[in-house]
């Protein structure tokens, strides 16, 4: 890379008094007095959320309204600020279409005071059960309010489309049995 030496011109006397600089600066700022304001008035106006936005982490259900999380605890492991806390457990016996999955979270807490919205939990999830969605406003009056429990996480997450249904395929194979 060639180096291009730039000659810095010596300042004239008038320039060195700093006054013309101030005057032109004042002119620029004065013009802004009359220009339209660009601030977004937040609660009334809301920003458009772009795809791939990383909002509050949530748990999602599959299109049949079934829990997807199997409490493998990988998100808990990968979470840099240790915001996620999972108590694993077995799938309740009354969920007959899911007992073959065996494992489900008993409790699933995300401490939003700790969460840094990095999205590693979404990236690591082998079941595509945790997503950082559009929700960006998390407030509360107490520390306890800022911990999202399992019910709240599902309420925030809702249902997302699923192309795989891997546990359903497994159930079909199990019912079909071996070929012999």
């Amino acid at each position: 890379m060639a180096i291009i030496p730039l000659e810095r011109k010596p300042l004239t006397f008038v320039e060195r008094t700093y006054l013309p600089g101030i005057a032109s600066g004042l002119k620029t700022t004065f013009k802004h007095l009359f220009q339209p304001k660009v601030t977004m008035e937040y609660p009334e106006q809301r920003p458009a959320i772009s795809p791939g936005y990383r909002g509050v982490p949530t748990l999602v259900k599959d299109p049949h309204g079934r829990e997807k999380c199997v409490s493998c605890q990988l998100c808990e492991f990968v979470c840099p600020p240790k915001a996620i806390r999972i108590t694993p457990g077995e799938v309740p016996a009354d969920q007959t279409d899911r007992t073959h999955v065996e494992k489900a979270p008993q409790a699933f807490d995300i401490d939003m005071l700790r969460c840094i919205y990095c999205g590693l939990c979404q990236e690591v999830c082998p079941e595509e059960a945790i997503f950082l969605q559009n929700q960006y406003s998390m407030t509360g009056y107490s520390r306890a309010e800022m911990v999202n429990d399992k019910a709240r996480l599902y309420e925030l997450g809702g249902t997302l489309p699923d192309a795989h249904f891997k546990w359903d395929k497994k159930l079909v194979a199990e019912q079909h049995g071996n070929a012999h």
């Binding site: 101030i22 600066g25 007095l33 220009q35 304001k37 660009v38 601030t39």
Partner: protein
Amino acid sequence: MADFYFNLPLWFRSLVQGLAVIAVIFPIAGMCSMAERKVSAWLQGRPGPNRALPFWFAWVPVVGPLLQRLGIFHVMADGGKMLFKEDSLPGHVNKFYFILAPIIAMMPALTTVTTVPFGAYFDVAGNVIPLGLARVDIGLLAVFAVSSLGVYSLILAGWASNSKYPFLGGVRASAQLISYELAMTLSVIPVFLWINAPGQPGTMSLARAVEFQSQPGLLGGAWFIFIMPVAALIFLVSLFAETNRHPFDMAEGEADLVGGFHTEYGAFKWGLFFVAEYSHMLIGSGVFTLLFLGGWNPLPWVTLSQLAVWLHVAQLPLVVGVLSIAIFLAKVLALIFFFMWVRWTVPRFRYDQVMEIGWKKLLPLAIANLIAYAIGIAVLQK
């Protein structure tokens, strides 16, 4: 009613007048804080504070939303907050001086008001009678003497806080004020050389300076800013430095000193510093208006008396008085706007640059200016 008022004892009248002036200065200083926020927002393409609205005011059509958009109620909200929030006293400070400092900040700010005339009316004989709390002949000297005491509050606050940033802020404030005091004083001497003809009893009265700018003729009606622009510039720059305004606010430069001398202050004590700073600006702007911008004269070469005659109100002292005060205040507020405008345009100087401008640039310039005008006036008035 006027007679009744003038028959009251002098001490009572002085008290009422004093309280009246304070009652005007204080809200203006408060409003200035909101104006600062609004002006800064507008200069930066923002709407600024526009949320606070008392629920009972929300019903008022047009005016309610307008005042809300102007952020008027934020002033009240801020004031209420500063009054009622916890006024914490850090454990490591010198409590007596720590509390004394903001009080001392307010005292010179309000005291100087007494010597600054802010309007005029005509008596029956057609003489101009200036409006002011104290009609003292030393005028400007009193302003300089008392307002310089304001720096003690900064030093006291910095020292009593027992913490390094306030301490540095206090030291900077004292050094800076001393540096610019010289240039400022020297810059106004030509004005009084001009006013005081040789052989006559001299005066330092500010009203006299206004009177001098109200004479007929090309030179007589010209404001002093046209006659001595360099002196006006020096005075203005020094005024910025004296009031600790951008780009000279070394004492509270938040980038290097957190909050400067008021780092450890909060709530109402901090609010007092805030109001004191705006009071200083008001008085400084007033003095500048009186000395260089023709005081209560509406326009250069157009005097108050001429205006009164055109409006057929010359015989109504009350109307003329209010008119003069309005003109004076308009000029002062325009200057305050200028202060804010500069603040949001010019970046802050470095501390060594502040010292260099003060000692190496302004002081020699002020001395040279004084000598030039002294020679000029001597030649002219021979």
